[in-house]
């Protein structure tokens, strides 16, 4: 198993209140790692640590080590880290521009000026996100007029324009129906050929369907993590078992 990210003894908190306790975890490359756990246990906080966002927040404290391909992320330049580790947040936030402008916003900032090149990037990433066929006729339409599921996929496609190595997704399907979720799940399994994916989800069934590795967090502590098949079939910890049983009813 090749590791993309290694997290060692990570502690994090807001305003002196510790939220994450001593988390050590590995993120294998080109796999989907699902993070599950009860609401408020610190899943989003963990994602924000991974892309360096928490370090910048006022009042937040982070300690421990996070390595990206063996490189210490604390020593990396912030914007470089963000480009390498993309994040799509819980609520989709398409920019109030056209679909095409949403897709070219990042590349233009990174210095791509050529029109056809920009168009190419947009098309390629929209295809990856499985959105291109739905919107190819209306690339100049406002992104705000897309449906919720389409907006979520647009945001994923937009995150891909930064050419990240790791893609963090915070509950991408929380507001979507079964069908729209299925489209996103199908897309994610396709994306893992190129990217390493970390997904936070409330939906255990979904985690079971798509993930290769699972980490279970409770009250800010990593209870258990490992290959999805093993963990779901025979959880080693009592807490994990209780959580999974609780969900299954």
């Amino acid at each position: 198993m090749e590791k993309r990210m290694t997290i060692q003894n990570l502690c994090a908190g807001y305003d002196g209140k510790q939220v994450l306790h001593n988390i050590s975890l590995e993120i294998p490359s080109n796999k989907i790692t699902a993070i599950i756990g009860p609401s408020g246990c610190g899943k989003s906080t963990l994602l924000h640590c991974l892309n360096g966002m928490l370090r910048q927040e006022t009042g937040a404290s982070v300690s421990g080590e996070i390595l990206l391909d063996g490189q210490d992320t604390a020593a990396m330049q912030e914007d470089q880290l963000r480009r390498q580790v993309g994040l799509v947040s819980q609520t989709p936030s398409p920019f109030p521009f056209s679909i095409l402008e949403n897709m070219t916003y990042g590349p233009r900032y990174y210095g791509v000026r050529n029109k056809t090149q920009l168009q190419q990037i947009a098309e390629e990433k929209l295809r990856l996100a499985g959105l291109y066929d739905e919107v190819k006729e209306q690339l100049h339409k406002s992104a705000l007029k897309l449906s919720g599921g389409q907006q979520q996929r647009l945001c994923i496609a937009r995150a891909l324009t930064a050419e990240p190595r790791v893609l963090l997704l915070d509950e991408p399907c929380s507001a979507l129906d079964v069908q729209a979720s299925a489209v996103i799940e199908e897309m994610l399994t396709r994306l893992k050929q190129t990217y390493t994916i970390v997904i936070v989800t409330h939906n255990i069934v979904q985690a079971r369907r798509i993930s290769d590795y699972v980490a279970f967090i409770k009250d800010g502590r990593l209870v258990e993590w490992g290959e999805a098949a093993c963990l779901f079939a025979s959880p080693q910890q009592e807490e994990t078992r209780a959580f999974l049983d609780g969900i299954y009813g």
Binding site: D79, Y105, Y109, A159
Partner: protein
Amino acid sequence: MQKNLNRLFSLLIKLLTALSVLMLAFVIFFIVKEALPLFEEVSLKEFLFGQRWMPIAYTGETSFGIFNFIMATLYVSLIAMVISVAVGVGTALFLVFCTTERVRSLFLPAIDLLAGIPSVIYGFIGITVVVKLFIRAGVHTGSCVLAASIVLAVMLLPYLVSSCSETILKMKERYLPAAQAMGVSRWYAAATLILPASWKNILLSMILAVGRAMGETMAVMMVMGNANLFPRLLGKSETIASVIALEMGTAVVDSPHYHALYAAGMVLMVLLFVINVSINLIRAKLLEQGR
């Protein structure tokens, strides 16, 4: 019982609405009625485009041309708007991007307080500070269009700053995390994402500010010199509102002078109406594009 009470209440509301509409209609009717007799003496074209304002025949003939006043009104308002929108948006950006929540919660109410200062005070400060500065800078009497625009801009600022900060803060919270997650820097996102996203609401604030700018009388009158001249940045001039305020008290009732002042008021009303409608149209167009 409950039903009757409801009916009574809705009747009362309707009555009050009707009353305020009626009052507005009455004001418009009254102004138009008092304005119309003027046009038996001067043509509309002469009135709007004439540059000679000689309401009383001391020597020679009377003449009623308000072109200079119209231009002065537009000019002062335009420059004041440019100054206060630029400063207001800049201040809002600073408050949102460079200060913390605590500083903002201290500053914004303080800025709102400025809105409560009577306009005479602004005019007074205009005379003692702004006009003095212009005299020192070599402008003949110090009173000029630019001085009036500056004073007016300061008067418009509180409202613009508080409404712009509100909009920009909202847009920042909505879009900045997503932009930063792509490695885009704060200030690039501010300029290319958050400002464009706030633009519509800033336009709306501008509509309300324009109304205030064009109708503001006292402070402008105190620093603009009040001479019937075509407005120049460093020259004296006089707005429609100033003419009305200065001359209405001495105009003989039912004289052409009296009717001319009403007609000038009517022109001011039409100007404001046209400007508000066109800014609204622009805004609707922007909304339609979904930008």
